[in-house]
Symmetry: C2
Subunit: 203 residues, 2 copies
């Protein structure tokens, strides 16, 4: 997988001349992980040594290991998608498509897979990833569903939390729980249309 | 959690006089796990010593470690539910309710949680668990969905695999991926009814 180190999500943060330093730090982390060093043994000191910078240079940019690792994870993943905003249906398909592609990346990238597997046993890192990546993604989904209630695409009596689970549940089941499940190109569209229409035969 | 060692799933297998021996073996495994011994270090020899039986006694009943561990897991979980068979809707609710209760047990039992967390990093054990517990559960779900197509409760044009994911996806999302998600008493019924009706407003 191509890793664009000067990725989205950090725009406007560092001054241009510091980008090379940040890139070296993030690449240092990736290099150590690829060499098989467990996340628990990746100290700031070791990362600094690998990147050829001082520890203080890292701490000026990130408050600690968790924040740095979450940024590395965010850089390894595709940036969150832009929503067309024309209809709830279309936006939901775009959001699911992002999850589907993420699932395909997880299957094809041993590095990404390895990092996620390790993260699950590191509660502080998992919490940081959750707050920085998953919660914002979830808020976007709820905004889309709320607009669907407003424009009449979604039943107004549906619990939005349950509606969210109907849209993302089948996709996460296939990407995160069943690693051999089919992820066909049209899956996102089929999930959204099936969730909207329901499984009961039309009257 | 109460562990009924002479549980379902082994009925008719052992002769009555061997039940005490099997119980001692399974309890030996549970005792070692509770003491914090990692599954990878649980040898048949150590289990035999803890249970006070010979290694041959274990091998007469189970072909190896994986088969024995899967049986321990099956015993720790509630037996698979009986299906009333009156309607697809009711049977689906019963199946989801089993998954919901299983999720509640996983949250409340540190032992069960620990064993499942370890199992995920042991591919042979995970495969054996999958073939022995998850695949049969999945086949039951597909039988119920197929009967729903036959009696007109399910759209005949729906891909059964997708229908399955709509029913179990939201529940597994809440029990396996989001450990703090609400698991209210009426969740199974709400998931099934929402999956059947769909999220789109009625015409």
């Amino acid at each position: 997988m191509a890793v664009d180190v000067v990725g989205a999500g950090r725009a406007g943060r560092g001054r241009p001349r510091s980008e090379a330093v940040e890139r070296a730090i993030v690449e240092g982390v990736l290099k150590l992980i690829e060499e098989g060093v467990p996340l628990t043994e990746l100290s700031i000191e070791r990362i600094a040594r690998t990147a050829g910078v001082g520890k203080a240079t890292i701490y000026r940019r990130w408050s600690g290991k968790e924040e740095l690792f979450v940024e590395v994870l965010r850089i390894m993943e595709d940036p969150e998608p832009e929503l067309p905003g024309n209809s709830m249906r279309e936006d939901l398909i775009v959001l699911l498509e992002h999850l589907r592609r993420r699932g395909l990346s997880l299957r094809s990238s041993a590095l990404l897979h390895n990092v996620f597997a390790q993260m699950k046993s590191l509660p502080r890192l998992w919490d940081a990833y959750h707050a920085t990546v998953i919660e914002p993604r979830r808020r976007v989904m709820f905004d889309v569903l709320r607009r669907g209630v407003e424009n009449g695409e979604l039943r107004p009596d549906v619990d939005l939390e349950l509606a969210n689970d109907f849209i993302v549940g089948p996709m996460l089941l296939r990407t995160m729980i069943r690693p051999d499940a089919p992820l066909a190109d049209d899956l996102s569209e089929r999930i959204v249309d099936c969730a909207l229409a329901g499984l009961r035969p039309p009257d």
